[in-house]
């Protein structure tokens, strides 16, 4: 299957278009809310919420025998919320630390959900099929009523973020100060967490409970690499989310019955790796290069100091010989050469028949460096 065919199908094939729109919407919403989750150090909470949603899906189905998306999403929201509430209460009221509470919620709720799922699998009802897609996600089964639910809930969540933008910014940066000026911080915290729960549950069918938190955390972590502005980070994170959502959903829908969650994770990991490595400023490559440049610059100043110390002294002829420097300062050949070159290009010293001589600028820099 070639790219042109896929593009054609995206535009004109009803099923594929539905799948793409649904996963773009959920990617956008989880990317935006994931940015706040990451900044508030709640990445693990996202994982616990998504796992905790599973028993809610199963129970909602058992109670209503319906697979209507709204019913299942409601069940997922309630049990995801219950899990969150448990984490918050336990951490506040007992000496149990948050990571422990998260671990308890994740495993207990998820285990219970798996139990219910296996019961459902054994039931003779015809409509039972398909709940297991909530484990690893199956974008191909998205239908237009799912997309409508996703879009409506997602739009509501995004609208709230837009309206309470500055409040959520302050909440994420400095909640103590926010409380001191009289904001209802607890309630805003609950609201933002609820939006996070919504972002998670609308992605469950497509991405699955096991890997949904990747949709929350990975786009945000990647976006943070590229910008120092909250607005841009949130937009970029939403954009990354939508992109990998569509890529993953379309790939998994096209390639047999490949589960969507792992496919999406594959794509988003690619974006994360590139961002970690190549982002300007915060990227690993940029940091290494900067550190190397600083090391050479520092060594050049050290060299200037060395020259200054021996200037006019009896041993000056020996100590300032370029060939001698390498040995004397214990630098290897290529580094010594780079430093010598840097010393000359930045105007600290001049080369005169095999010796380095400080310029007056170099003398001044050396004096100042020593005075530090």
């Amino acid at each position: 299957m070639n790219l042109g065919q896929i593009l054609h199908d995206l535009l004109f094939d009803y099923t594929l278009r539905t799948v793409a729109m649904g996963s773009a919407a959920l990617g956008l919403v989880s990317g935006v809310l994931g940015a706040f989750a990451v900044l508030r150090r709640q990445s693990l909470l996202g994982d616990a919420i998504s796992h905790a949603a599973l028993p809610g899906v199963a129970l909602a189905f058992l109670l209503t025998m319906s697979r209507a998306p709204l019913v299942l999403v409601l069940g997922a929201t309630l049990s995801g919320w219950l899990g969150t509430l448990f984490v918050i209460t336990v951490t506040r009221q007992t000496r149990i630390k948050q990571d422990t509470a998260l671990g308890i919620v994740l495993s207990v709720f998820f285990g219970f959900g798996m139990l219910l799922l296996s019961i459902i699998q054994r039931m003779p009802t015809a409509s039972k099929a398909g709940l297991d897609k909530f484990l690893f996600g199956q974008a191909a089964t998205l239908m237009s009523r799912d997309v409508v639910t996703t879009a409506a809930l997602g739009a509501a969540a995004l609208l709230v973020v837009l309206l309470l933008w500055k409040e959520f910014k302050l909440l994420s940066f400095d909640p103590a100060f926010m409380k001191s000026v009289g904001y209802p911080v607890r309630r805003l915290d609950i609201l933002l967490t609820t939006l996070m729960v919504i972002a998670i549950v609308i992605g469950l069918q497509t991405v699955g409970v096991v890997l949904m938190s990747a949709m929350l955390v990975a786009p945000a972590a990647a976006a943070r690499q590229w910008t120092d502005k909250l607005g841009r980070m949130v937009l970029l994170s939403g954009g990354f989310g939508a992109l990998v959502g569509v890529l993953g959903a379309v790939t998994s829908a096209q390639v047999g019955r490949l589960p969507t969650g792992p496919t999406i994770v594959l794509y988003v990991s690619g974006i994360v790796v590139v961002s970690l490595l190549a982002a300007p400023d915060r990227g690993i490559v940029a940091q290494l290069r900067r550190r190397r440049r600083q090391r050479v610059q520092f060594a050049a100043e050290a060299l200037a100091i060395h020259l200054l110390n021996h200037e006019g002294a009896p041993d000056a002829a020996v100590e300032t010989a370029i060939a001698h420097l390498r040995q004397h300062l214990q630098w290897d050949e290529s580094f010594a050469e780079r430093v010598t070159r840097r010393t000359i290009t930045s105007g600290l010293a001049e080369r005169s028949n095999g010796h380095l001589r400080l310029t007056s600028y170099g003398r001044e820099v050396a004096r100042r460096a020593m005075a530090r």
Binding site: L39, K166, K179, G182
Partner: protein, 264 residues
């Protein structure tokens, strides 16, 4: 005292998980003083400030700002938290942080407008940080971050300021600049309550002092409170080198911080 009390604390007890951190603390701060709260690490200085601001619940006792509970006097109070209380890698710039001091006045949903930006810039200028307005906050030095927090409090235009170690990690020049600013605020009739760690500079910078170590040790004018006896009570007899009420020129401690460890 005919001046009104800017802050009044009565019988305040605060505990974290049943471990009392403040025991029955009383404090009266008259309007228009520049006050230091001094005490060893873990004495409860930060806790006292946070309790006044309603950030930490009290087990007993009451707090009054100009005679009213904090909730009613909120607009009169500005807060400078300890610098380490936030993540400075947050994606935002200095001006934006200062603007946060105006959010409550701006109100829900509305965004800061030109007018608010100008106020925030003015406030940054007052702490000598105007040219750093657009700087990403992680790229500011510790002292510059501290000044951004100060600017955020200034823009609140409060009557009473509570500051938690505004001099921590600040170089000597910046420290002088901040002190000058605090004096200006005092001259404008504001009350400043500052957690401070350097015993050497207490008499020079402040006119009012509270010594705290879980209990209220002493409080009042620096000249009355900054005595060897009180210091021994607060620090547990390990500050023999301090010469109380000496001018800062001849009262130097060689390593003031190392003497501040809690005794016994």
């Amino acid at each position: 005292m005919d001046r009104p009390l800017a802050l009044e604390v009565r019988d305040l007890t605060v505990a974290y998980e049943e471990k009392p951190v403040l025991w029955d603390v009383d404090l009266e701060v008259p309007e228009g003083v520049l006050m230091a709260i001094v005490g060893p690490n873990g004495a409860g200085k930060s806790t006292l400030i946070k309790t006044v601001l309603g950030l930490v619940p009290s087990a007993a006792g009451q707090v009054r700002i100009y005679g009213q509970p904090y909730a009613r006097r909120r607009e009169l109070v500005g807060y400078v938290p300890q610098r380490g209380s936030v993540d400075w890698d947050f994606p935002t710039n200095a001006l934006d942080v200062v603007l946060m001091g105006l959010y409550r006045k701006i109100g829900w949903i509305r965004r800061p407008a030109r007018r608010e930006r100008e106020l925030a810039l003015e406030s940054l200028a007052k702490v000598g940080m105007a040219e750093y307005a657009d700087r990403q906050i992680s790229q500011l030095s510790g002292g510059q971050q501290q000044r951004v927090f100060l600017a955020r409090a200034l823009v609140q235009d409060a009557q009473v300021y509570l500051m938690d170690e505004p001099f921590a990690g600040v170089d000597a020049t910046t420290e002088r600049a901040i002190v000058a600013l605090l004096r200006e605020l005092r001259a404008a009739g504001k009350t400043l309550i500052v957690v401070h760690h350097d015993l050497q500079t207490v008499s020079e910078y402040f006119d009012w002092l509270m010594l705290l170590n879980v209990r209220h040790i002493a409080s009042g004018p620096v000249a009355e409170v900054f005595t060897a006896d009180n210091l021994r009570d607060a620090y547990g007899g390990r500050v023999a080198f301090v010469t109380p009420n000496a001018g800062s020129e001849n009262g130097h401690l060689s390593e003031p911080q190392s003497l501040l460890s809690r005794g016994g």
